[in-house]
């Protein structure tokens, strides 16, 4: 049942959820940003519950998409996994090794294996460093001296991401947004990572460039067998890139499933609403697709609703939803690994579009 962990092999064969030790395992992950107020003595008056009890697993070479509205905690999750932020609660373990509260020195061996690609290619590259020194710096920090020298490795990486190796000595301001993002990708690849957290890597780019960058990431993933946590709010991009997709709402995962299951058989009302909002080109005589319009705004993460967090905007909400938070479980009629956090999941196998 449990497939052997094959890191080098391409991840074309979809890895199952039940592999012995997943590459990354996150359970009950919580991040509350405290709010201080009061006069004259400032004290904690509340907390933004950016991420509240998140569970997910990423297998070797697997690509997990993380989608949701703005402010639902996607980016915070990414930053918690790369340990740019200190979790308030829960555990993060990488290859069975707890890194939840590891210090910078303790993290050192893991650092090279978890890398990140950032959203804004204009602020993620130091304007005062050449491309060469930007890509080289992860090797310097970790004291890695590859065969043939660091400069050779940088040139290889530049070639790998589709840039001219001769541009080694150029500065970031001489590149376009798409090229800059490629530099960011090259930097993330410098240390031969096993997991890359891509925090909306294409949302700052032109649509024509988005496809190029996503395809580049796709190729790299297949060639190098790197697992991805791909954070995006563009459902189409995630569908293209990720085998498993998790939908987040207000700091929690409401549904997680394999790509086909999630997009064709969404069980959570929020997922359905989200998918129905994707604009689609249809012929004039095609039956009009049902468009679910959610009323109201996302509640404040400072005081999220009791029970199910989606209940304030859900057309199915009952008293049960207010009283109990639904656990993320396999709903009836779902395939293995399709988990939904809803008391009243949508009926299975209902085509989303007409």
């Amino acid at each position: 049942m449990s497939s052997p962990v094959n890191g080098t092999a391409s991840s074309a064969s979809s890895t199952t959820l039940s592999s012995a030790t997943p590459l990354l395992e996150v359970s009950g992950l919580t991040k509350h940003f405290p709010i201080y107020g009061g006069f004259p003595i400032k004290r904690k008056v509340g907390a933004v519950q950016a991420v509240d009890g998140l569970d997910l697993r990423v297998a070797e070479g697997e690509s997990l998409g993380l989608v949701g509205e703005s402010g639902c905690g996607k980016s915070t999750t990414g930053r918690l996994i790369t340990r740019l932020l200190e979790p308030t609660g829960g555990t993060i373990s990488y290859r069975g090794r707890d890194i939840t509260h590891a210090s910078r020195r303790q993290l050192a061996p893991v650092r090279s294996e978890i890398q990140m690609i950032f959203q804004d290619p204009y602020s993620s590259l130091n304007p005062r460093q050449t491309v060469g020194s930007i890509i080289k710096s992860p090797m310097e920090v970790n004291g890695i001296e590859p065969d043939g020298g660091r400069e050779k490795r940088v040139r290889e990486l530049l070639e790998l991401v589709g840039l001219n190796p001769e541009h080694y000595n150029r500065f970031p301001h001489e590149f376009s947004g798409g090229q800059r993002q490629r530099i960011g990708v090259a930097r993330a690849l410098t240390l031969n990572p096993k997991l890359i957290v891509a925090d909306e890597p294409v949302s700052a780019l032109d649509v024509s460039i988005q496809a190029q960058v996503v395809n580049l990431l796709q190729e790299l993933r297949k060639e190098l067998g790197i697992a991805f946590v791909f954070i995006a709010h563009d459902l189409a991009v995630v569908r293209h890139f990720s085998e498993r997709v998790a939908v987040m709402y207000l700091g929690r995962i409401v549904e997680i499933a394999d790509r086909a299951d999630l997009y064709e058989n969404p069980r959570h009302p929020y997922t359905r609403a989200l998918l129905s909002a994707v604009p689609e080109a249809t012929a004039d005589d095609a039956p009009a697709r049902e468009r679910i319009r959610l009323a109201g705004d996302v509640p404040s993460p400072i005081s999220p609703p009791s029970g199910c967090r989606f209940r304030t905007r859900c057309w199915k909400a009952t008293d049960t939803c207010a009283a109990q938070a639904p656990p993320l479980v396999r709903a009836e009629g779902n395939s293995a690994g399709h988990l939904t956090a809803c008391h009243y999941p949508e009926t299975a196998r209902l085509p989303v579009d007409g």
Binding site: R111, M116, S123, S124, P127, P138, F171, G184, R187
Partner: protein, 342 residues
């Protein structure tokens, strides 16, 4: 980036004559990969005011450094009272006997009233003393300001709050009054009240006091810059690779701070020159007989109703220097930061 491209088009024809294939690619590469510093230098070179004032400033520094050499070639020194051996240099009222403050081929800038020292060498050595103190104070202030400002900005939280209040207090002091009040205290720490204060100690104390009250503006400026920079994603990118805070500060943040540091310190130096001269004028800084810009102006102020030339030389030279340095500072700022148009 587009300009080198057309130049490669007629290349095949030219290549046979040139016979060096890699040559055409070399200039196009170096031309297109101009560092921000190189671009700033090109902008600076186009700024005529900046280039002229840079020339003036360099001239002052050269004569300050070369003062002993110039004095040797000139054959005089600033300490000898030439009038005591040659009383004919001064008239009955102890003012220079010759016209225009005693200017002659022997004493180029004339001689000092009463004591009869040589004005030219006295001015040279005065510039040397003043610039030395101002430069040292600027360097120390810059180092202090950069370290405190960057640390406060990067660490944030309590450290930032505490440093911020210290800066507030320092900036709210009337600094000149404070210098006057503090200089004797500092001297008192090192020297017994009745002893003579050695000139070296006076200079050191001046540098220390000027720096102690001067770093606040620099620190505040850099703190603000760092607050903006540390939220940029390239800092996160460095953290993800496991970079130490030290590396982040020195390799990631500091290169982005050179612009404000250079601008602030070029504006700082002329204010230190004037402050130092002001303190000497008031008698709490460098004192006679040590040559100094401020000392000269103070001496000149005693005689200017009768002998304006003695006041003129230090006064004019200082105005020229401070003006040139301020204009240089402006030009440097414009060159480094093309967006900040006045």
């Amino acid at each position: 980036m587009t300009s080198p491209m057309p130049s490669t088009a007629p290349l095949p024809a030219v290549a046979e004559i040139g016979a060096v294939p890699p040559a055409p690619s070399a200039p196009s590469r170096s031309g297109s990969s101009r560092s921000p510093g190189r671009l700033a230098w090109l902008r600076f070179k186009r700024d005529r005011t900046g280039v002229i004032s840079a020339g003036v400033v360099i001239f002052f520094f050269v004569i300050a450094i070369g003062a002993p050499l110039i004095a040797k070639l000139y054959g005089k020194n600033p300490y000898t009272t030439y009038a005591s051996s040659r009383p004919e240099l001064l008239n009955a009222f102890s003012y220079p006997a010759g016209p225009k403050g005693g200017m002659s081929s022997e004493f180029w800038f004339g001689i000092e009233p009463q004591l009869g020292r040589d004005v030219f060498t006295f001015l040279l050595y005065g510039i040397r003393t003043s610039l030395g103190i101002a430069t040292a104070a600027t360097l120390l202030t810059t180092v202090l300001g950069v370290v405190i400002g960057v640390v406060a900005g990067y660490l944030g939280g309590r450290t930032d709050y505490f440093v911020g209040r210290v800066i507030d207090i320092l900036l709210s002091f009337p600094s000149t009054l404070f210098f006057i009040a503090f200089m004797p205290v500092v001297y008192g720490v090192f020297v017994a009240p009745n002893d003579n204060i050695p000139t070296g100690l006076r200079a050191t104390a001046l540098i220390l006091v000027l720096s102690a009250f001067g770093w606040a503006a620099m620190a505040r400026l850099l703190r603000g810059q760092v607050l903006g920079l540390r939220e940029r994603e390239f800092v996160d990118a460095a953290k993800v690779t496991g970079a130490s805070p030290r590396r982040i500060v020195f390799k990631e943040l500091l290169p982005n701070l050179w612009t404000p540091i250079i601008i602030q310190s070029t504006l700082l130096l002329p204010t230190f020159v004037t402050t130092e001269a002001g303190l000497a004028f008031l008698g709490v800084g460098i004192i006679d007989p040590t040559p100094d810009w401020g000392v000269m102006i103070q001496r000149g102020a005693q005689f200017y109703t009768q002998d304006i030339t003695f006041m003129l030389f230090p006064g004019l030279s200082m105005v020229i220097f401070v003006l040139a340095f301020n204009l240089l500072g402006d030009s440097v700022r414009d060159a480094l930061d093309p967006k900040s148009k006045r």
